[in-house]
């Protein structure tokens, strides 16, 4: 295909909330390409390479094959019967409307234990199409680092993962996993040693090793085309959910709920539903110790628009435009920004963004373990905390889907610590 033909394919979905971003990588005023000149030619190359790959059926077939046989997709859509029953009891006690019917999208069952692999698979296949021979990534909770290390092992490419020292401390099992998979984990001491600092350091590596290196970003942030590309690779979550719900209930869900750090699992679930106005969309940010305390990661609730890591989006920042450090019990949500498309969905009102505190997430973490026999990651435990509040206020025929985007094995030690249990 010529560039012109590829461009025309991307313009076919006018008058849709799903047609963004524009040619400049903007969702409304959000997004863009705010990077140093050294990186700009690479970002333009990547955009072109991705547009060609997207239009190539062979590329999609490769992804589909790996998603099925390596990742284990599709992931089940599971009726969380006991949780539903529990929240319906709560509803009747509190004079609610009966309590919604709750489904979990089981992306925690994927190979490597989270949704992160969906994106890594797409991007590594693209990196190889582009002839890149070295992969770098940033990671917070370590789930993206593990997923990146996994696909690098699978395809035989060297892998360097940047991870903040604070996160290394609270996610030790994942650090060891990455090393087992053959990745080099580089500790980042700058800032508070969390995800934002890891991303700075990965960008510094990329700007130094432009010739052979592919930067595999783990969330729907960064310069265009990353936010759109990562969203596309994650949209398999929402597409499967839509199909599965039609099979199970014969109709669309009434609401979808997902947790948000950078927002990749949420964007993957939300995007296929953006043009279905009957579906309410809820994103749950990390309120940390409470938004009023200032120690949180809720960029939309407690931040303002700014420019960081290649895009304009909502950021936690002070009165001088300096970036503030977030706080969350969950390393995966500990990022002072959010994907630009979420900022746009927030401003247009298509999606509603709420938050859950550390405490609420810990409670939901235990509730899910005890009622469903599923130990969730602390990240989706935030989404679940909101579900436990919202579901009882809704009628019984309300169909709700929550993305259970990661499993909690990695969090067991940290949670024990928070609960005052010595292992």
């Amino acid at each position: 295909m010529t560039d012109k033909e590829v461009a025309s394919v991307s313009l076919t979905k006018a008058n849709s909330l799903r047609s963004g971003p524009d040619e400049r990588g903007r969702f409304g005023i959000f997004g863009g390409r705010f990077v140093a000149e050294t990186l700009m030619p690479l970002v333009l190359d990547l955009d072109k390479a991705y547009r060609h790959a997207k239009a190539d059926p062979a590329f999609q077939a490769q992804i589909d094959y790996m998603q099925r046989d390596y990742v284990g997709r599709e992931s089940p859509l599971y009726f969380a019967e006991r949780l539903t029953g529990h929240l319906r009891e709560k509803s009747s006690v509190s004079g609610g409307k009966g309590g919604a019917k709750i489904y979990f999208k089981r992306d925690e069952l994927n190979h490597t234990g989270s949704h992160k692999i969906n994106n890594c698979l797409g991007q590594i296949l693209l990196a190889m199409r582009m002839g890149k021979t070295r992969i770098i990534a940033e990671t917070g909770a370590g789930q993206h680092g593990v997923a990146t290390a996994t696909v690098c092992a699978r395809f035989g490419l060297p892998c360097v993962v940047y991870m903040g020292t604070t996160d290394i401390e609270r996610q030790k099992p994942n650090v060891f996993r990455m090393k087992l998979l053959g990745a080099e984990v580089i500790p980042v001491t700058s800032g508070t040693g969390t995800l934002k600092d890891a991303m700075n350091e990965a960008l510094r590596d990329w700007v130094t090793n432009v010739e052979n290196t592919y930067y595999l970003i783990g969330t729907v942030a960064g310069p265009h085309p990353y936010p759109a590309m990562v969203r596309d690779f994650q949209s398999v979550i929402g597409e499967e959910t839509k199909r599965q719900m039609m099979e199970r209930e014969g109709r669309l869900p009434d609401s979808v709920v997902a947790c948000i750090g950078g927002g990749s699992n949420a964007m993957g679930l939300f995007h296929p539903f953006l043009d279905d106005p009957s579906v309410k969309i809820y994103g749950v940010e990390a309120a940390g110790k409470g938004i009023e305390t200032g120690e949180h990661c809720a960029s939309l609730k407690g931040g303002s628009p700014g420019v960081l890591h290649g895009n304009r989006t909502y950021l936690l920042q002070d009165e001088d435009g300096q970036i503030k450090d977030g706080h969350s019990i969950s390393a995966g949500l500990d990022y002072p920004g959010i994907g630009p498309e979420h900022s746009w969905l927030h401003e247009t009102g298509r999606a509603e963004y709420v938050s859950a505190t550390d405490r609420e997430a810990l409670d939901a973490f235990q509730l899910c373990s005890q009622l469903e026999g599923i130990i969730p990651a602390l990240e989706p435990a935030h989404a679940l905390a909101f579900v436990t509040k919202l579901a009882p206020t809704l009628p019984k025929d309300h169909l709700m889907v929550m993305n259970l985007c990661g499993r909690g094995d990695k969090d067991v030690f940290a949670v024990a610590d928070h609960l005052g249990v010595t292992l």
Binding site: R24, R33, E37, N200, V210, L315, E319, G321, I323
Partner: protein, 279 residues
């Protein structure tokens, strides 16, 4: 209108000299030290001063300048104070050009119009904003040019001939050639590569070309000055400042003089270079 920057480069050209461009971070480690350095830099041989606007997340900078930003921010640096430094400097120096260098967010957060107004009022001549490539020109570059400030663009080894015209289109004052693919203060450039790159850029523009990233010694500065219209030194000066900071976070007595002495040696390297070549 001819800006201080344009005047300075024209002057140097007529003298057959290369420009010595120095970088320090505003407020590193405190307001008074920076003001002392600013006031002493022209006499130490700086032809153009780049003043870093501290930012929490300097993605294109190496450890030296990252640390300088953190020191400044810890001691209360802010955009307001950076502009105040320029204003105070202008009380005694009305000819040395000052270019503010940094990242977009603190400017965006202040508001582009407000920032431009205050910068001009303070006596700023140009801007280098690392994370604003030509694709985002309407954000700040075009408004800055309209307001009468020079917007200095970075060209890099990855900027090929096809892209160069777009990079140069809205550039004024001078072109800053980043001599390596990498962060500030890392690998040092090869003089031969620099010469070729400067020649390539000059094929597309009449603007002076200054070269930076990785220049650490008077000898390296001299080499670059032979190949380009200017040599930029940042991390090495910032490191000299860092060496003057005691365990209590304060600068030792006489720090400003010693840093300026080091700057003087670098300046001698740059200024001797062109003379040697001309003789």
């Amino acid at each position: 209108m001819t800006t201080r920057l344009e005047k300075r480069f024209a002057q140097l050209k007529s003298q057959g000299r290369a420009a010595f461009v120095t970088f320090i971070t505003a407020g590193d480690p405190d307001f008074d030290t920076t003001l002392g350095l600013l006031n002493g830099l022209p006499a130490a041989g700086a032809d153009v001063i780049e003043l870093g606007m501290p930012f929490t997340d300097p993605m294109a900078d190496g450890p030296s300048i990252q640390a300088s930003s953190q020191r400044a921010l810890r001691n209360g640096a802010s955009m307001k104070k950076t502009l105040e430094l320029v204003r105070r400097f202008r009380e005694s120096d009305n000819s040395t050009p000052i270019v503010l260098m940094g990242y977009y967010n603190p400017i965006y957060h202040m508001g582009v119009e407000t920032f431009l107004g205050r910068a001009i009022e303070a006596g700023v001549d140009g801007l280098i904003v690392v994370d604003l490539p030509p694709e985002e020109d309407d954000e700040l570059c075009v408004p800055a040019m309209k307001a009468g400030l020079n917007f200095i663009r970075l060209a890099t080894p990855t900027t090929d001939d096809k892209r160069l015209p777009a990079v140069l289109a809205n550039t004024s004052g001078f072109v800053y050639y980043v001599s390596i693919t990498g962060i500030t203060g890392s690998a040092s450039p090869q003089a031969r590569n620099v010469e070729a790159a400067v020649k390539r850029i000059k094929g597309h523009t009449d603007l002076p070309v200054a070269v930076g990233f990785g220049i650490k010694t008077p000898e390296q500065a001299a080499e670059i000055a032979r190949a380009a219209d200017g040599a930029v030194v940042g991390s090495a000066i910032v490191d000299a400042i860092a060496r003057e900071i005691g365990t209590d976070g304060r600068v030792t007595p006489g720090a400003v003089e010693r840093v300026l002495e080091f700057v003087g040696k670098l300046a001698d390297g740059v200024h001797a270079a062109r003379k040697a070549a001309a003789e």
